[in-house]
Symmetry: C2
Subunit: 128 residues, 2 copies
Amino acid sequence: MASLGELERAVMDLLWASQEAATANTLRDLLAQDSEAEGGSAGHQGKDLAVTTVLTVLSRLEKKGLVERERGTRPHRYQAVSSREDHTAELMHEVLGSAPDREAVLARFIGSVSESEAATLRKLLGGH
Amino acid sequence: MASLGELERAVMDLLWASQEAATANTLRDLLAQDSEAEGGSAGHQGKDLAVTTVLTVLSRLEKKGLVERERGTRPHRYQAVSSREDHTAELMHEVLGSAPDREAVLARFIGSVSESEAATLRKLLGGH
DNA sequence: AAAGTTTTCTACGAATTGTAGAAGAAGCAG
DNA sequence: CTGCTTCTTCTACAATTCGTAGAAAACTTT
């Protein structure tokens, strides 16, 4: 139960973008805007989703542990459980974790990182 | 079109384990063994798959670009396109790639790597 | 209590995956 | 070459996931 569908991803992007908790309605509106602004002629069309659709997706994301909801307030408010960066880093660990030879994987991985990123990594890893 | 199902993964594991190309029949046998040897009482049961099942899976893996087949020999022979390590590293890049703030993700990622792996990384990243 | 808003339940269609039979193609025994 | 055996391709079906949303239930507000 790892990867997200297209809409699920779109919703997460919104939640990650706005640090704040949002209601399903707000999200629906944001999604409408996004798809409206999305690209020239043949982009994939602008949807105007039903709120129930957004709610379903939010429930699924909650079940997957990516989203948390405040049930106290009346229009429930949803927010991402962890930041996009944390989540992505976690994902990377998941991918790596399933490998028997982690170090070999890391070697390959490092091999194809840009120089500037390599520099960042050196800094992060600190002097020996 | 990213992740693999359970059986697909099992097949890839076999192909990755044995550097050599294998036939569908061989793989079917190996799968049978594996599930046989797999865990005490309530593990998920030992299947004895039909060869067509294995062939279907192999075709799908081929379509996904993970497997290559020699069509010349009569029992076609299948092999992984890239090593497990390469594939995993690629996956990590895919995960990372979709992030707007790559460096932040890398920071988190590095933050939760074991010390020995950190050492390896330092070595790989080389001086200055 | 009526009307409006929000949430939950239920459902359906497309795509993916595990699973395999039926039928077609290719090679081997006579 | 003709039939038997083996291998591959085609087609199919059930379960799960995901996009999508109506119907109904629950809660607010007036």
